[in-house]
Amino acid sequence: MAGNSQEYISHHLTNLTYGKLPAGYVRQNEDGSTVELTEATWTMAHGGEEAAAMGFNAVHVDSLGWSFGLGALIMFLFWRMAKKASTGVPSGMLNFVEMIVEFIDNTVKESFHGRSKIVAPLALTIFTWVFMMNFMDLIPVDVLPAIFGAMGVGYMKVVPSTDVNVTLGMALFVFALMIFYSIKIKGIGGFVGELTLHPFNVKNPVVQALFIPVNFFLESIALIAKPISLGLRLFGNMYAGEMIFILIALMFSAGAALGLMAGVLQWAWAVFHILVITLQAFIFMMLTIVYLSMAHEDH
């Protein structure tokens, strides 16, 4: 049972990976025989070990596929509603979409004081997309992997935001925008000045020169911590939530009494998770707005 549980959990935490196995890697076939690769090969990974051996040259097909699919779905929905939107009386889905747009617009207006064409659409994209990706967490953990398993796909991790690549990727894009707008608004000099003349600022140029490395060290950490914390916060929350769903799912196979309890727990955790996924999407959006607002501020 212990071995089964471990397999169950690690199976759920393994991505469907396509990548390049290095030359000399010994592949293990299902019947136990081994094949040594003579040259580097792009292939689907059979399990976590091969995925780990691929290193950086690998793509999580499931994460990327789900994230792209969900993003495309939500963008398609918003695009269709945008085409339908007119000055007439809105109805049905359009009401809902406009409610979200107005909410985002107000949030951006409150937190972002510069003028920018990108911040509001960026916030909308983040909020809706991250929400959709998090929402996959509410689908019982075994449903989609079982469906794909029946179709012959061995691994399927359906919640893209439990993949650190996905969350860090988004955070890095936000980081790139931060750097871009910092330099665009304040100029290279202003940006460098911001990194080197704070927090220790003195009138005496000699003393200031001594403080520059210290300032740079501190400010760099502060700057780099922003995207890292942004990405890891979402990842950590969703990964932990997913983990608990998996552990609850394990209880289903442990008898009627535990199975019943698992059902109650599953329901309770899912209800709680409705709050978590919305909150995490909102936090990611809010922090992005705040970071970009800081990038637009000229001292």
Binding site: M54, N57, M75, A82, T87, V101, V166, G169
Partner: protein, 156 residues
């Protein structure tokens, strides 16, 4: 858990979606919403204006009505006055006419009476003369006693 090319893939996907949202979604939705907001505000303004206009018109109509009533009352009063005057005039005319007729009738009566008196007097004097003649036995020379007789007649 490994960092790999998925990271790059996600950055590209993110960039595409943000660009799409910026170009095709956000401006249309927000534009339509702001336009609608303006339209509603205009509509409310127009409604307010119409309500104010209506109130003014009602006030004006009430004023006109009051004025018309006042005029009508005035006209009626004038007509009444005129009617009274006419009646008074007619009364006055009738009264003077009546007085005139009464006066004329009285005049005539007096005349008649005088005439009757005269005739009576003449007859009395003649009767007196005749009586006297009978008394004296002879006819009185009318011409000789004419003066006397006339005086007598006048005394009667």
């Amino acid at each position: 858990m490994n960092i790999n090319l998925t990271l790059i893939g996600q950055i590209i996907t993110f960039a595409i979606f943000v660009a799409f949202c910026m170009k095709f979604v956000w401006p249309h939705l927000l534009g339509a919403m702001q336009e609608r907001e303006k339209k509603i505000a205009d509509g409310l303004d127009a409604a307010n204006r119409a309500a104010r206009d209506l109130e003014l018109a009602q006030k004006e109509a009430a004023g006109k009505l009051r004025e018309a009533k006042e005029q009508a009352a005035e006209i009626i009063e004038q007509a009444n006055k005129r009617a009274n005057q006419i009646v008074d005039d007619a009364k006055e005319t009738a009264r003077t006419e009546g007085e005139r007729i009464v006066a004329a009738a009285q005049g005539e009566i007096e005349q008649e009476a005088n005439r009757a008196k005269e005739a009576l007097r003449k007859q009395v004097s003649e009767l007196a003369v005749a009586g006297a003649a009978k008394i004296l036995g002879k006819s009185v020379d009318a011409s000789a006693h004419d003066e006397l007789l006339n005086t007598l007649a006048e005394e009667l």
